[in-house]
Amino acid sequence: MTDSEPSQEEVENLHEQLDREAEEMGYHLNPDLDFTRSLIRGLLVNERRYGYHSCPCRLASGDRDDDLDIICPCDYRDQDLNEYGACYCALYVSEEVLAGERDLLAVPERRPSPEVRARATKALSAPSGEAFSTLPYPVWRCKVCGYLCAKDEPPGVCPICKANMERFERFT
């Protein structure tokens, strides 16, 4: 592992970018500057180490397929924002937390355990025997934000949350 430390400038640049994107899409970064920059440094370290922005507060396997659900923003962000007012790391916070109307609590891990994930992958790859649906087009769902579209293939980038095509799953 060769991890050169991300520079302050890189951290600030990514912070600015994430902040802009978040606000455009109705999300908010944690206003605690030191805290947020420290997480963003973690994202940059993980990018150097694994090649993608793996969640700084979770142990990545280094296998992209395995880590897909925890590439930031993870598949669990929206549910945690709704339930706890913050994502697991608290990089993203809800409007209430931002406005100081709600305290930040420790967010329990929502990602299924390694065993459960392994079983789910196995079930997915097993042939189910039945046709997906009789709709004229398959429907694809973005696992990050829930966006649905009906076409032969999912879009290269989610038009709502900008997640990559690989974050889409066949919905029906």
């Binding site: 592992m1 997480l39 973690g42 700084p56 507060c57 979770r58 142990l59 790391c89 891990e109």
Partner: protein, 93 residues
Amino acid sequence: MGFERVGGEDRGEITLYALSTCVWCHKTKKLLQDLGAEFRYVYVDLLEGADRDKTLEEVKRHNPNITFPTTVIDGEKSIIGFKEREMKEALGL
């Protein structure tokens, strides 16, 4: 095996399993330092090969979901996540 020791008062055998990139892990480490307790910690994301597997087995025994930070006190009590109050209670403070 990758463990670093931080000196302090003896409040039991305290082990912190952490990730080097995780802010909540850093907060937990700082909490233990501020509480003045002696402890050892390891950054599991920096381990490789057999060391990593063995350490993950240890974490799993105390926290089947293998999340970080996991703090183990006297080999039996485990605190999952950054929990200031729980930590103080567990250390008798």
